[in-house]
């Protein structure tokens, strides 16, 4: 076996440092950029999978598509530690209060990704028993279309979430607009 040459440049990609001022022994940038960078690359998703989109999500987490490349390999099956709620599948009206409770249990800052036609709009289930899109009970940040979407699309959705996480102002969650938006959904 060939010994590894420690002097060879590594092909492991690291996150690029944010814009800032650099000199001998110091680097200055804004706190917001550092926090955004850190959050963006360590999103803990909470999978709320109810049907076939959940199967696509399993492929997304698997070795071939590997969501871990984006810093999201650690799924949080408790909402308390999760950053991103991924809703994948048909949400029946009876499931609605459960989903809302899971959302309420998540700590701020929290993001929501609606994966697939059913979570986004009810999809083919235009019927009395199915919730016509989860945005009727909780706020949604990114919608992924498809029935079901391919893993590439789910990854694209996660990357759009990453962009939101990176660029979000640290004060956004304290703003009156944000609180008014939550109040609209009846969430304190």
């Amino acid at each position: 076996m060939q010994a590894t040459d420690i002097n060879k440049p590594s092909d492991i990609k690291l996150v690029e440092k944010p814009d800032g001022y650099e000199g001998a022994g110091f680097f200055a940038t804004s706190l917001e950029k550092v926090v955004g960078m850190a959050r963006k690359n360590s999103i803990w998703p909470l999978p709320f999978a109810t049907s076939c989109c959940g199967i696509e999500f399993m492929a997304t987490m698997g070795a071939h598509y590997d969501l871990a490349r984006f810093g999201s390999e650690r799924l949080s099956f408790s909402p308390r530690q999760a950053d991103l709620l991924m809703v994948m599948g048909t949400i029946a009206k009876k499931m609605g209060p459960v989903l809302k409770q899971v959302y309420e249990q998540m700590a701020e800052p929290r993001w929501v990704l609606a994966v697939g036609a059913c979570a986004s709009s009810g999809g083919i289930f235009d019927t009395y028993s199915v919730l016509q899109g989860i945005d009727r009970i909780i706020p949604v940040d990114v919608y992924v279309p498809g029935c079901p979407p391919r893993p590439e699309q789910i990854i694209d959705g996660v990357m759009k979430i990453q962009h939101l996480v990176e660029t979000e102002s640290l004060r956004r969650r304290d703003s009156a607009e944000y609180k008014a938006m939550l109040n609209k959904y009846g969430i304190e």
Binding site: K94, S121, G122, D126, T127, Y128, S129, V130, Q132, R136
Partner: protein, 166 residues
């Protein structure tokens, strides 16, 4: 089920419930007997106990809405495991006031089936210990499988005409 078995079951029923049988059909070779609603529990109990029928398994119990006749039918499907006979018994109730006694004294398994029939058609099973919704959300105010209620969710927006340039 062959004809002789069907004849036998019909004769057994005629012995005791001659005046209560309204109609005897055989769609898709499935013996279907429509009876008056008053004696339905007694009739099913009779078929359960009779030595030659022994219909001791309740396969299904469900509702059917006939909006033209303003009636709701309740269909009981029974199976005799000993003889491998199957039979369907139907009763018709007024859609304005669908009330019928519960079948739980004969089949304990009728409990959830009757709750489901109540949930979707609003049939009241008198004597049922826990007649409340089983599948739909508890605060639903309609009986969704009745034909007067639309199947679609009325809040759906992406099927409106303007979405298609109409």
């Amino acid at each position: 089920m062959d004809n002789t078995a069907q004849e036998k079951i019909i004769n057994i029923l005629r012995e005791k419930f001659e005046g209560d049988i309204l109609q005897i059909e055989n769609p898709y070779n499935f013996l279907t007997i429509t009876v008056k609603k008053d004696k339905i529990v007694e009739l099913i109990q009779y078929l359960y106990n009779h030595a030659e029928t022994q219909f001791q398994y309740l396969t299904d119990l469900c509702g059917i809405h006939f909006p033209d006749q303003n009636q709701i039918a309740v269909s009981y499907q029974l199976h005799s495991l000993v003889n491998n006979y199957r039979i369907r018994i139907k009763i018709f109730l007024s859609a304005d006031h669908p009330v019928t006694p519960t079948l739980i004294p004969v089949f304990a398994g009728a409990n959830w089936m009757e709750r489901e029939t109540y949930d979707f058609y609003g049939v009241i099973f008198e004597g049922h210990p826990n007649l409340k919704r089983i599948l739909n959300v508890e605060d639903m105010i309609i009986f969704p499988l009745r034909k007067e209620y639309p199947l679609e969710d009325q809040v759906r927006e992406d099927k409106k005409d303007y979405m298609f340039g109409r």
